[in-house]
Amino acid sequence: MSCCKIVTEKAQQVLGWVDERFPLTSTYKNHLAEYYAPKNFNFWYFFGSLALLVLVIQIVTGIFLVMHYKPDASLNAAGVPVAFASVEYIMRDVAGGKFIRYMHSTGASMFFIVVYLHMFRGLLYGSYRKPRELIWLFGMAIFLCLMAEAFFGYLLPWGQMSFWGAQVIVNLFEAIPVIGPDLSIFIRGDFVVSDATLNRFFAFHVIAIPLVLLGLVTAHLIALHEVGSNNPDGVEIKKYKDANGIPLDGIPFHPYYTVKDIFGVTIFLIVFAIIIFFAPEGGGYFLEFNNFFPADALKTPPHIAPVWYFTPFYSMLRATTSDFLPYLWAFVTLVAGLTAWSVRNVWVRRLCLVLVVGVYWGFFGLTVLGKTKPLFDFAILGIHIGRGFDAKFWGVVMMGGSVLLFALLPWLDRSPVKSIRYKGGLFKTILTLFVVSFVLLGFLGTKAPGYAFFGLIPGGPVAAVSTILYLAFFGLMPWYSRLDKTKPEPERVTSK
């Protein structure tokens, strides 16, 4: 007994010594033991901590992969690119290498599954709304970093899909008027995707982006712990506090949510292990079959598609052809018209008019409904004034813009309530349509361009309609979120 007392006392002294020099106890309290989270978290609240877990898995497995991988596109004595051969070496000759590699490659897909569900949680419960705008924006930056990380990493095995995927994405930048062609050479460091490209992508994948990612994750969590977590009811628990200033509906993150999250981690790791042991390629969705062939600059595989997590955005790029631009223009006009009608400010209205006219010119040039040829066509700095920009350029704008639209959500949502529990049928219908079109776009993006559902319904028009629905979810949100018949929010959280 007295012995225990002495040990405890000594421990207290050591802790006191540290606390005078580093805020250990207060950090632990602020972020775990006395961070009060709403007591009504449900299933959807597993995915934040799971994302952190996957980040750790990716970093640890990544460190071990770098010990064996060689970013070198030159051919070895057997005529195989060194980078490709080093991945094969990890898979076949390094003890345990196969599992480390599969953990890393499957981990990438898991990361996106978890992050997409985490983002969907935000859509369900309005977690992006005031005062959590910055949490959402940091989250969007994390999402962009994750996409960059996945893209750079995918080149490293130097397989056919690696090579041609990088070729397509880098060539996207070529569509930017005037500077595009030089920019894509600048990114590749060569006139084609080559050894120079492989080496710089390696540097970005293992050093640059992970550092930025860790910084952003820290900012995301600091911002979250500053304002406090949202919850499935979308009401602020800080409104009602007890005498000690503790939210009545809050429970300390540790031990309550650490235990809950460990349960989630256990289920996740079981699923993760099953995939790694029994289906590491994920049926061609996690690791594409064509990537088991070394890169060949002369031959594109007969069917190329990005990995599944990029396909919704890739589908929208593909849907943006010159045939689609009139519909897109009509949509822009609708949103601009609604804005001009609802905002009674003359400058906003002029801006809307400029937008509609500017987009018309950008899409079609100086033509009227495509019926007349350009009256004249002269170029200033390589931009053809009479012709507008290629559909290719707008496809690139579409792909980038469709990702960035998420960042606008905090300012587009005008609903009086945050959570879907108190939103009306209109919002629920539109959210369902959004999810369906996102999934359809994702599915079509994995298929060849001429794909038809059941061989009957052509994929092209489905992708076009889905693209418009995707855009409408964001573009029309300021209006339908106000029209929606909402139910009154409760004062305190409910336990369902």
Binding site: D190, V192, P301, S322
Partner: protein
């Protein structure tokens, strides 16, 4: 400014009231010089991204022997790391080119990147041999040959032979001309090339020299 004064009434954290303009100028000058140094220091990092001298030096012209290429077949050679196709077109293939004109985005190749000496719908020096960069003008994939005509090509009844890009579905005819409403904006590029003899072709240069 007025807000600052109100805030500062209780404390001494106001810099506006004890502002020393000479210090401020020094601060601005230091920041300015610092920025210039920063830009200077960034230069090598930015320029290191551009193709190295070795990468620029690569890409010499290549010579091709056409004698083994059969009519209706295609060969691919590498030039500057990119595929260059040589298609030996049959008379039927050449005759079919005209039928495509109405469906093409730029039948006369007015917007295409091609040397002066390839003209007309065949886009070749010798109509029989079509030389072209096998790189889609959309996003740089290499299209696949679809030489069969009509329904058996799997490209529809009206297909007169051509190329299909696997990435985004752009279609080109047998002279590399893009069809209307395709993701690819322009016809396939044609590299500079010259015939050294009836069956020897040099790609990447249009003079016979050296």
């Amino acid at each position: 400014m007025s807000d600052n004064k109100q805030d500062a009434s209780g404390g001494e954290a106001c810099c506006a009231c004890s502002l020393d303009p000479s210090r401020r100028a020094l601060l601005a000058a230091t920041a300015g010089v610092g920025a210039v140094v920063g830009i200077g220091a960034a230069t090598p990092f930015v320029t290191s991204f551009m193709p190295s001298e070795r990468a620029k030096a690569a890409g010499a012209p290549v010579e091709v022997d056409l004698s083994k290429l059969k009519a209706g077949e295609m060969m691919t050679v590498e030039w500057q790391g990119k595929p260059v196709w040589i298609v030996r077109r049959t008379p039927e293939m050449l005759a079919a080119l005209k039928k495509n004109d109405a469906a093409l985005a730029d039948p006369a190749s007015e917007r295409a990147e091609q040397p002066e000496y390839v003209k007309g719908e065949a886009r070749a020096i010798k109509d029989e041999y079509f030389v072209c960069l096998g790189v889609c003008t959309h996003l740089g994939c290499s299209p696949n040959p679809k030489f069969a005509m009509g329904a058996e090509s799997g490209m529809g009844e009206a297909w007169n032979g051509g190329f299909l890009c696997p990435c985004h579905g752009s279609q080109f005819d047998l002279a590399g001309r893009v069809f209307k409403a395709m993701p690819a904006p322009t016809n396939l590029k044609i590299p500079p090339h010259v015939y050294l003899s009836d069956t020897r072709l040099r790609i990447g240069e249009d003079t016979k020299g050296a």
